[in-house]
Symmetry: D3
């Protein structure tokens, strides 16, 4: 019996969308006000979804307290109240679009979650915009 467990978390970060290889005009055309050199920011809402077998003895797929700790150590402590472009190593050469942030979080958590379990990342940049990434 396989089931998906889901845990919500959040982090508040500044970021700027910019492609160093593009002209100023092209950056403005594509990224608009998201290209503001002084940064802007978001309350990112994160849902980590793990699909696996229910353990007969505990009735758990995975201890949610442990999942909560992993998310705190691997994502919140590194992304929360940070400037994604300046403070987070993974975005040194990667544009922190909500798509790319979700992929980075998936890659980080994939190494911390048992491999027989599927992993899915849902990331809200605003209440109106969000992405879903499954590692596909």
């Amino acid at each position: 019996m396989k089931i998906t467990i889901n845990r919500k978390a959040h982090f508040n970060s500044a970021h700027r969308l910019n492609n160093k290889n593009w002209s100023h005009e092209k950056n403005i055309e594509i990224f608009g006000k998201c290209n503001n050199p002084n940064y802007h920011g978001h309350n990112y809402e994160l849902i980590v979804s793990i699909k696996g077998e229910i353990d007969k003895d505990s009735g758990f797929v995975m201890d949610l307290k442990k999942l909560k700790e992993i998310i705190k150590e691997e994502v919140e402590d590194r992304f929360d109240h940070k400037n994604l472009n300046l403070d987070v190593r993974e975005f040194e050469d990667l544009n922190p679009t909500v798509e790319n942030i979700a992929v980075v979080i998936w890659n980080i958590l994939r190494t911390k979650i048992e491999l027989q379990n599927d992993l899915k990342i849902t990331l809200y940049e605003t209440p109106l915009n969000y992405v879903v990434y499954t590692g596909e």
Copy 2:
């Protein structure tokens, strides 16, 4: 790397559920108070989901500003503050159940979204009732 981007929108419409080929009694039996000949209405909440490759240069699957405009022109401008039965061509001979509205929106947007990208429509008629359509 494929990811799903999601954009929320909404429209406020009147509608009535009715099958012209059925008796009054049958319409009342099946549609209940939704059959009110004077119409009732809803705040429809729409989520448009598009799955595709992340562009290496922009970090986008698709520019969300463009998606927002497409949804505004193709759905909101045609459905918002309208009577779906009387004002929207697609429902002249189609009962505007939440299922059928979602299919109509999917058919409209399918022609506007690049074909290599998957399209999914989620439509809330009320906070307690919603449908998901993938074109299957």
Copy 3:
């Protein structure tokens, strides 16, 4: 010890904003697309708030089951899945703006709630627009 108890409810209705004494042009200028002669509609979210003394024996200001029934009989049964302009007596000569709907609901419920208790009506027309009326 006075406390305010609050109960949420909702109803789905069609309506049209229109002033019969105004020209077509004036109605369009003031009410815009809300003036659509074929109606549009909303999921109205209602909060009924009652402030009074906590009864020592029950620990209740008022039995919420009774309040739920009063709201159902007096508001939901009369407004839900109705056309406010055509089906609800109170709006025969009253424009069903969210302001006026809230005042009508307050007037209806004021006669059903014990007079020593204060009554407040909060009414959402959309998630972005709502009003609060206290009978002031």
Copy 4:
């Protein structure tokens, strides 16, 4: 044309996580404060999702009024304002984790929903923790 219809419901229950075959220490280690012998409780939010063909005549996959009644009789009437461990037969020998509750609800509803339609259960234990079960 296949579409998924979704209906939300809720129930408020007490429960305790405990494995009778484990020592007190092991139960505390694994279940923490959820092992409180005096019970604690939750507002469970349930989403029942049914995927099937849209009926040409009604425009429905299934009458949502009937689905609402099935959920009320089979889930709410049996789980709401109950102690899951003491009052619900299915948990006599099954630990009422959110995973197991979702599986129990799926098993109950699977016998009430037409077999050609897919069934999915989403169950929120808190706004931050939820599971999704498809019978896989």
Copy 5:
């Protein structure tokens, strides 16, 4: 310049509504299924509101980190994953209705918040039922 700061928190508890001085029949009549002797439970959502002057140097009415700690120590640690009737001293002889729980929380926090600041407690028992208490 006075402003109100608000901090949300939550706790998950079991409870039972019962008046020891009433007959079984009267308890059932007034409290219905909330009288279940085996308890039921809720996810209580709490909002603590404090009104005071903005400090010129910090721009704060009060450090929200400190408020968060006070709520954790005084409310969450004592109420969360507890049976209110059996585990929380204040309800030994007080019926844990949502009204009375809000008053108890107000009384606890009033001694921890500076006296020149106003205190207001909002407590949701379910998404549809909540109370507001100001110590009036």
Copy 6:
């Protein structure tokens, strides 16, 4: 008859909490990770509340389309996708705490709303923290 109309809006901004007159240590002690020199950010949710008489002819306190435009021009266009410390004149010498941002918005809008109407600003910095300011 006086009623309060409410309109929601939002803006996404970067900010940093810092007092130039304090030592680095004191800034860290009081503002913690909010003092990050590289900034962090939030999705600010704003509710503008206006209390006034219902106009007999329109049924409006104020045209919500006009209120929406005022909020867009005076708040969203100036604050959205900006760095509050660097890009918004009002915070050159004012620490952009959520308290101070709400006061600044109140002061801006007070000059745009008719004086006989009361004005209240509710501002969410995160879903868990918000303030309410009435100009008191």
